[in-house]
Symmetry: C2
Subunit: 204 residues, 2 copies
């Protein structure tokens, strides 16, 4: 018997496997999930890390309030349900970037353990790296670049993480990042090293 | 006068410009927006195109129902409002991928002109390429790989695009792609050529 060569046969889909993608791009995708208090340094470290990775020819991308709150999540406010939905969407988008082979760096307070664990669960084992940017409340409050802590202490911002709303410390983050007395570059280099050691990209 | 060297100075953000990103990655990001009837061939062409681009070392990624409806958009149904929200989120995520330097290929029916124009408006001029996969209704209905047209004709699927719900043809798409009597590879090659001519990546 011969198989009939239907014209439709040529319309079967070609799906790129993760392995093919990684081989073609010369890197592996992952989600590097930065969590920590407001003013702990998450976005600043994320942006510098992105820059350093790009200088090495590694495709990396930061998701943070700057590009999510004005776009995808512009319909969301700051109610508990909206905060959870915000993090749910961030997690879903980060997983897509990781699936695309990108080193996706997220920088959100993400104070709830459950929300972070849900984001983790979307990814293959080893592809979600939780980074606790563990700057102390005292240090964050001393930095206070936007004056938010001051306002929160005055009761002008309700439900402010660390002051009037909880921050649930990661129980066992892959990386606990100390920022106090260190430079942004120090912190970013720690993360580059951690990514390199995990084999997400090769030597520069 | 000397400027005090505040410890906070080192915490100023580094932001990667689009130009730096493109230079580092050796390609430019864009959104290639495929629109057309159900069974017109959008996803099949998108997946094959993605594969061809990856073979050339170009970072590309498909957004379609397979990776969006189960994840980011799993809270959305098929009401008119939910369909519009579905496309709004797709547009927002596609813009992020383009911003990251990826060739982002979207494959959704996206029947409404306004929804597509809204997605276009998120991108810099020239970075959104609308591709009308203009397979005729007759050809789509003859293919009907999932039997959806048959069910729609029997009234078992309400608001089915092309049968009981409108499809608004693109008024002036960048590309009008004929698929009838052609192979998937023919179609994907047309799009490779169009992307190459627009300078989104260099010679293989």
């Amino acid at each position: 018997m011969t198989t009939p060569k239907s014209a439709n046969l040529t319309w079967h889909g070609a799906n790129v496997s993760s392995e093919e993608r990684e081989q073609a791009l010369g890197q592996k995708g992952c989600v590097l999930w930065l969590t920590g208090l407001s003013a702990s340094g998450k976005s600043t470290i994320a942006r510098r890390l992105e820059q350093m990775l790009l200088e090495r020819g590694v495709t990396a991308y930061v998701l943070d309030g700057d590009n999510l709150r004005m776009g995808l999540n512009k319909d969301l406010g700051f109610s508990p349900a909206d905060r959870t939905e915000n993090i749910r969407r961030v997690g879903a988008v980060a997983q897509l970037f990781a699936d695309a082979g990108t080193i996706c760096i997220t920088a959100f307070i993400s104070p709830y353990r459950k929300d972070r664990d849900d984001a983790r669960a979307l990814n293959a084992p080893g592809r979600f790296i939780e980074v606790h940017v563990n700057t102390s409340l005292e240090a964050c409050e001393a930095r206070d670049p936007k004056g938010l802590y001051r306002k929160a202490r005055l009761g002008q911002i309700p439900d402010f993480t660390g002051i009037s709303a909880p921050y649930e410390d990661p129980a066992s983050p892959e990386i606990s990042l100390n920022t106090e007395g260190r430079t942004v570059d120090d912190c970013a280099r720690d993360l580059i090293k951690a990514l390199f050691e995990r084999g997400f990209f090769g030597a520069a």
